[in-house]
Structure formats: C-alpha cells, structure tokens
Amino acid sequence: MEDFAALLDALVYTTSRNRKLALIADYLRRAPDPDRGWALAGLTGGLDFPAVKSSTVRNLMMERIDPVLWTLSRDFVGDTAETASLLWPEPEDAAPQPDLSLTEVVERLSALTRATAPQELATLFDRLDAKGRYALIKLATGGMRVGVSARLAKTAFAQAFEVAVEEVEEYWHALYPPYAELFDWATGAAPAPDLANVPRFRPFMLAHPLEEAEVDMAEYAAEWKWDGIRVQLVRAGGETRIYSRSGDDISATFPELLDVLVVDAVLDGELLVRGSTQGGEAGGAASFNALQQRLGRKTVSGKMLREYPAFVRLYDILLLEGTDWREAPWKSRRATLESLMERLPDSHFDLSALVEAEDFAQLAAIRETARDEAIEGLMLKHRESPYVAGRKVGHWFKWKRDPLLVDCVVMYAQRGSGKRSSFYSDYTFGCWDGDPDAGAELLPVGKAYSGFTDAELKKLDKFVRQNTLNRFGPVREVKRELVFEVAFDSVHTSKRHKSGLAMRFPRIHRIRWDKPAHEADRIEGLRALIKD
C-alpha cells in the first residue's frame, strides 16, 4: 500500500504527461501480482466498493473530532478524503505493523457491508499513515483525480512491458481487474488470452487531414463526415457493447441499440440522433447539439429515448461471424457491409452513403455544399486500404468544410501548463453585443489556446503583461485592444454562456495586430450562423 500511495502522491504533483507515464510504468514493472493489477484498476476507475461512501468517511471522522473543527478543515482543504487522511487521530505508541498489500486492502474493502464498513475502515486507517489513508479513501470511494485517463494508464502499461498499446486496448475491455491474463501476456508468462466470445473493443482506424493535397478519385472513395460520435458496435457471445473512440464502454447510455444487432460482428459507424439538420430530410440526422443531450448519462429516461432516438450510420466492418476483415481492402469490406445491411433493422441502422464524384474538382464543388447541409465535411478512403489501428498516412483523409471566421477581441488570458507554464497562452475572447461606438459591451464567445507559433506566443505573452487590467489568480483581464481572427467549425446555442452561444473547435487563425478593437464582429453576426 505504501508503494501505491507514493505513486498516487507523485501523480498528483506531476503535470508532465511523460513523467506521469514513466511513474506508472515504473510502478507496474516493480509491483508484484496481483497488486499492480488492482492499482491499474484503481487508476482507471475500474473498482467499485458500494459499501463505502464519502459520507461513511465523514461520519467516521465526526465521531473522533469536533464537528466544527472538521467542517472548518474540510472547507479549507476542499476534499473529504484528504481532510480525513490528515485529521485521523493516529493511535499513540502503536507498534509498527508490516505494510498492508494493495491486494489485502482491496479484499478487505470488497468484503465490507454498510454495517461493517465503519469499524473496518477505522482499523485500516490506524494501520496507515496520512498518504496511505488518502490512497485508501480514494480507492474506496472512487474518483482518483490524479489526472490519469484510462488511455494514459494503458499507454503506461504498454510502455512498461514494451507491447503495442493497440493490443493492450484489444484485451483490456474483455478482462476484469486485476487483469491477470493481461499481465501474464505482457510479461511473456502466457500466450495472449482467448477472447473469441467476448464483445471487446478494437482500436479505431483514424484519418489524417487532407490539407492542400489532391487525390485521384479512381483510387479513393468519398463519404460524408457526419457530425455525431464515432462508435464501435460489437456483438459476441450473445452480448452487444458500444464503445466510444477512446474505448470507453458506453452501452448503458444507448440501451436501444443493444438488442438490435443480431449478427456476431464488429462495426464502425457514427452514432447520431434522428432529425433533419444534417443533410436535410434525406440526411436524416439531428445536429451534434441534439446528440449531446444523450451523452454522458448512466441511465436514460423513456422521454429521452423518444425525443432523441439514436441510430448508427455505418462506415465499416471489422469482423463478421468469425471472419476478421481488417486485412482486406476497403472495397471488399464495403461490399461485405452493404450485403450485411439487409440483415440489420433500418430502425437503428443505415449505411453511410458514398458521395459520387467524377473527379477531384467535382468533389471539391460538392464539399462546398457541406456548410449549408450542416455536415462536417468529407472523408476520403483509399479503396485498397486495410483497416489498421491509428492514423496511417495515405489510407484515410478527412476533408472538413472550410472553417468559419470571426474577428474577436481578447478579454482574458490564462497561463498555460507544462511547456507553456510561464506564458499566457489560453485566451478568452468576445464579440460586441451591439455598436461599440454607442457603448456596446464585449461578451465572451469562446476560448482558444492554439493556432499560433512560438514566436507569436512570446509576443502575445508580452502583450498580456503590458496590458493587464486585473488579476484573478492565474487569469489576467486585459485591455480590449487586440483582435484575433478566430476560426471555428460551427456555432450552437448554449445556456451556459452569457452570449447564448458556443463555438465548436475554435482556434486562432490570425492575430490582427493591425485591426482596431471596435471593428471586431458583433454577436448578432455569430448568432446568424447557428444551425441547431
């Protein structure tokens, strides 16, 4: 437990991704089985001990410390686990006891009931120091908050044992903590686990931006790039699961899709909500904003299912009834997918149609219509390309519609992190809510931290420092003087912002040192671009 507690502590204080990876990888190599498996589960949110709640810990503390002192301390520290770890009255002159293994801790936590939890936790607290108690409470109540995503943990695992992260991804979702088979495989102690009947995730194939290049339409096929979320549907062993692009299991969020796939298969597609925003009636899909109502929910009401019915627009097929199609060229996979369509209910599935173009110039003309059709852009897929994990040059391209541009005034700047930690590199900018010469105000419309060179960053940093009006912790309010030409993908209504709108993917396109602030754009102009 000491080792795991020290790892958590080190992760809390480390901002660099590479250092985090090194810390986790180092721990995974060093720690014994099955401790390291439990640690990996703890870091990725794969553990659940329902008998222990934050309130269990609070009540335990209130029995031992004056409630007023507890509340004052908790308010200052801002975290129950940390406050409790610091305030737990350590037993006096207790004989030093051997370190508890992480496995022992997990076993004891798993055995807890609501009734036994307080006493057992107290016993464990007595045996640990402040760091250990912090780790224990975080482990027991979930939510480590040490800035480690599941993807980062998997990458660290791959790094630790010099295996491919794509392979780790493949097995990960089929295995349960403490992932014994995964460690056995990675350390060479056993062959890869047999997971034929497990509905597990396969890494996605991704696309490069097309940039300025042109492609030959004889070699490439084109499809619309629908604006939903990319998902993978997997059915095996009688069970269907839905995975997001990061490999998270989001099946529970879309229950209507779990009974409709009746064939053992792995399918790649875009999850969308029925509507007529994208591509009009024929397009049949609502805006991303509508889909957003469905995202991130653990339980879904009947009303949600009725108002925002989800379906999957299929792009590709990876596996079908025992055959792995990933090595096959795109054109064969496409044919397989097309013939599969008649076995899938059109209530929940359709096929992403091909965009027919004689040549590249014609395709470019079609792409010009994407803005009006409220579609993100086009995808170009080499007809001979296999389905490979990640981004391989030359196989798939995304060719997004041209961004929208708007002139905004910089209002606030915040220091960046990591390499940019001493630079004001994150900017909040606004547009005028009327005529600036008639006393209109700026309302924030977005935030961006990319789109400029290192040299420009230095100049921006200097501007912020020389034009500061106010400081709020790491944030500076600046004089309304500098104009950014901001590029963004689309704009939507948003209740969260005072301006009533939110941009998707804003980035700084050009710094307009030359442009006076009062010539920046107005909110009404942005509002006219909303397509919800």
């Binding site: 809390v12 204080y13 480390t14 901002t15 410390i65 004056d66 007023v68 002192l69 004052l72 301390s73 200052f76 520290v77 801002g78 975290d79 940390e82 406050t83 610091l86 305030l87 220091r415 992190s417 930690s421 001493s422 912790g473």
Partner: protein, 335 residues
C-alpha cells in the same frame, strides 16, 4: 482605576498601547511603533520611531534604506515606554531577530507573539515560553490539518529529488527573509555543501544573515551562472512569485518545489504548479499553537490573524477564554 487591560486596544491597523501611545506592528505610519519582526506586513516603513531588536532594525534598514528613528532593544532588555508601560522583547523563533513583545502596565502582563514557531531553527533564537495574563497569538496555520513534519524529512525529500534526477535542477520557492536562509542552513546541516544558486532578490538578505553569524556556505547568483548547464543537478532558490514566471526560463529543466506550510494541502500545491511540495514553515502549526497556549496558560487568549475561528473553537472546547481580533493587512499567502 480603569477596567483591566483597557490600556491595550486592538484596532484594525494594529494594537494600540494607549498610556504610552505606541503601536505594535501597525499597518500604517505612526509616531512610535514596536515591531516584532522584519516581514514587510509587520514591519512597515515611515514610523517616527521604531523600537525593535537590532537584527529586525538591520532588516528594515536594508529594506527601506533608512534607519531614521531606529531604537534597538536587545532580547530580555526591559524598555520603558512612558505612561507606566514597559516592553520586553523575547525570542519568537520565527526568523532572525523575531520577537514576542511582553508589555507590562500596572501589574498586568500582555504578550504579543507576532509570528512564531516552536520547532528548532538554526538561523534564529528559540521561542521563550513566558507567563502572562493576556496572550495575543497569531493563527496562520490555525486548523488541525496543519501539522508540519520534522524539517529533516522535508530536506531529505529535496535532496532525494536532486539525486533521483541529476539532469534537472530543483527550483525551491521560499520567502526571501527567513525561509530561504533556514532551508539553506538545514541543507548544509544535512551535508549538502555544493553551490546553491540564488535569485537576485535573495542576495542581500543572505548576506545580512551571514553578518549576523548564520553561515550559509557557497551561494551564487543565477545571473552569474556561466551557463544553464552549470546549474544542472543543483538547488536554486527564488521567491515564490518567480516560480512560474519568465525568470525561471533560464534554468535547466527545473523541478518546481515550494517550501511552505500550505504545501500540506495537495490542492494548494497543485494550484501553484508545485511538483515537489516541501512542508516547511516558520509559523507554529496547529499542535504548536495549542501546546503554546497550554504552556503559557494565560488568563485570556486573543487571536490576531490567520484561521482564528478554529483556534477560537479549540479554546472554547478547552474552557479557555478567548477572542478573535480583526486585524487587517497581515499576509500569509506565501509562507
């Protein structure tokens, strides 16, 4: 006969000793001031007369470039202030020259601690427990979550980080007065005799400490470093404000450390981008605060600045008379 202790009156900008018309640590200029120690929030300039220990006066001289009106008072020396009031400066263990001030009038004894700590510090005289009727204490770390570990452990963490990653340097944020010198002295005591690199703001104060007999070993300015490379594997000390600022761009891959009592709380460290928190404070922690009130055992405890609510609550729970004073202008963010 006036009411007991009516001769001492807390005002928002300092404590007024009425019969002598003298103020303790006033936050605005007054004709006559008693100053507990040299930190800027306690030792403001511009007073007509400033009574303080010689070291505190030297620090103020350095800071304000004048020693006009300076009246030295040695530790233990009883100074007559007029109006039947006397003051005695007693060591507070906070920084070089820091003092508690014992005020006596008509048989009544009041101690104002200024800032203090109880743990050992090679750079200043230790806190003297002295009986009194009213004990006016600070409460910077007046919450039970604040317990400062032994400094040896924290210095050990610092040295370990240095050996773990010899390709970097460790940049330690520390107050220029007191904290920096204490960290350096403790590093030397732990056997670290290599060059320690200093931010320019540290230089004069370190020299002043050495003139007062605190040896700090080989110190050099970062601005005098022949190259970035020269500082690899070294300790660099700078004021906390310089940690994430442009100044630190001249250092070779610095690991950011901060020596402060606030580092006990993870989020505090994270907010400041601290990678290596060192829980080192020149203030009493919760246990020292409560222990000291117990040992001094005053008739009444007044709490000046910090988290006074919790200490007030502790006094209530322990059947001690106490009140919180609302003094303004004392800053404790960086300690």
């Amino acid at each position: 006969m006036t009411a007991p202790f009516s001769w001492i009156r807390p005002e928002p900008w300092g404590i007024h000793v009425v019969p002598a018309d003298v103020w303790v640590d006033p936050s605005r200029p007054v004709p006559r001031a008693l100053v507990t120690h040299g930190h800027a929030d306690h030792a403001r300039g511009g007073h007509g007369e400033t009574i303080a220990t010689p070291a505190t006066l030297a620090i103020m001289h350095l800071r304000y470039n004048t020693n006009e009106g300076a009246v030295p008072a040695e530790y233990g020396e009883r100074v007559t202030l007029g109006g039947g009031v006397s003051a005695t400066f007693l060591p507070a263990g906070h920084v070089l020259g820091s003092a508690q001030i014992l005020l006596e009038h008509a048989g009544e004894r009041v101690i104002i601690t200024g800032d203090y700590k109880r743990s050992a510090d090679p750079t200043c005289a230790p806190f003297a427990v002295t009986p009194c009727d009213i004990f006016i204490t600070e409460a910077t770390f007046g919450l039970p979550v604040f317990t400062h570990p032994p400094i040896v452990e924290e210095i050990g963490k610092l040295l370990k980080s240095l050996t773990d990653d010899p390709e970097s340097c460790v940049l330690v944020g520390a107050y220029a007065l007191g904290k920096a010198q204490r960290v350096i002295a403790e590093l030397r005591a732990a056997g670290h005799h290599e060059t320690i690199w200093l931010h320019g703001a540290m230089e004069a104060m370190c020299r002043l400490y050495e003139e007062h007999g605190v040896t700090l070993g080989d110190l050099r300015l970062v601005s005098d470093a022949p190259s970035k490379e020269a500082m690899r594997g070294s300790i660099v000390i700078a004021p906390p404000s310089a940690l994430n600022d442009r100044w630190s761009r001249r250092l070779p891959d610095p690991v950011t450390a901060m020596a402060s009592g606030w580092m006990r709380v993870r989020q505090r460290a994270r907010q400041r981008g601290v990678e290596l928190p060192l829980v080192i404070s020149d203030h009493a922690d919760w246990n020292e605060l409560t222990q000291t009130i117990g040992e001094v055992n005053p008739h009444e405890t007044w709490i000046t600045h910090g988290r006074e609510e919790a200490l007030l609550r502790w006094c209530q729970l322990n059947q001690r008379r106490a009140r919180a004073l609302a003094l303004v202008g004392y800053e404790d963010e960086d300690d």
